[in-house]
Symmetry: C2
Subunit: 144 residues, 2 copies
DNA sequence: CAATCCACGTTGTACTATACAACTACTTCA
DNA sequence: TGAAGTAGTTGTATAGTACAACGTGGATTG
């Protein structure tokens, strides 16, 4: 086993451990908005509205999954649909005001949790860690 | 927004993106052993056997969840139970030979996938990234 | 322009992971 | 020895997910 292998092994283990915990942690912290709902709503907010198909492509989810997630968010009053006048098949999705508000709350609370976890990190480490994660995820997207 | 905030924001986004994808990716790569089954079986292998309660405590899962996961692994022939002679409530769980073999295969294949993703990283970066992940996860465990 | 094909979304169905509560069986301890 | 605690299972419910079948509405092409 080389040092390189050791590092890769650790990265694998830690990423796996994190992935296992993430949903449950998110659910405990934000019962009002699951991790998936949160990311979908955040994407709508970020993109100033988009189609269900775009969400499915972006998050590698089946369109039926997105359809149901959006239906749930709509039922909660967090998302509204606007039929595209140029193509009646298309529904452009937007956060409602209430949805934007809830999103902002959850975002703030998540941000605070991350700040707490990272409180004793110095800025150089934070910066490098952030860059590594970006690089890792980019590679994962590239390689599937 | 300070640089520090920017870094934390990026870390949050990237960890979230990773968490969202992890299960589906694992399931695609290893239909024979889900991420959860994999980690449970790996823990049994690593610990040379342990109790269901230990697994539940270690992975913050409900004992009923572990019970069902183990039942599934047993049905697949990957895990066997040995009743503790000193305490008839306790079942010590062990991977079977076949379970150990499947685990080894999945581990090898996961390891290879990680090596591919990280192929163009130099060793210093790998080492730092591994250390950051360990540090991050430790903080998360500490703070819930 | 009609027939065909394609894109968008919904619904039926099924499965996995999960939690909580109620239960059984066993152990420990006062 | 009886009460309390521990290990594990089972009943029930929920969330998230995929795949397949479908309906509807645009786009293309002979």
């Amino acid at each position: 086993m080389t040092d390189r292998d050791d590092s890769v092994e650790t990265i694998q283990q830690e990423m796996t451990a994190f992935a296992r915990r993430a949903r449950a942690t998110a659910a405990r912290m934000h019962p009002e908005l699951s991790l998936v709902s949160y990311t979908l709503l955040a994407h709508l907010d970020d993109q100033q509205g988009c189609r269900a198909t775009d969400l499915a492509a972006h998050y590698l989810l089946d369109k039926s999954t997105v359809s149901r997630q959006i239906a749930a968010l709509e039922k909660l009053g967090f998302v509204e649909r606007r039929v595209d006048p140029d193509d009646h098949r298309v529904q452009v999705l937007h956060p409602t005001e209430e949805g934007a508000q809830v999103l902002a709350n959850v975002t703030a609370s998540r941000r605070q949790a991350f700040h707490e976890r990272l409180a004793d990190w110095d800025e150089a480490d934070l910066d490098r860690f952030a860059a590594y994660l970006v690089r890792y995820n980019a590679a994962q997207e590239r390689l599937g």
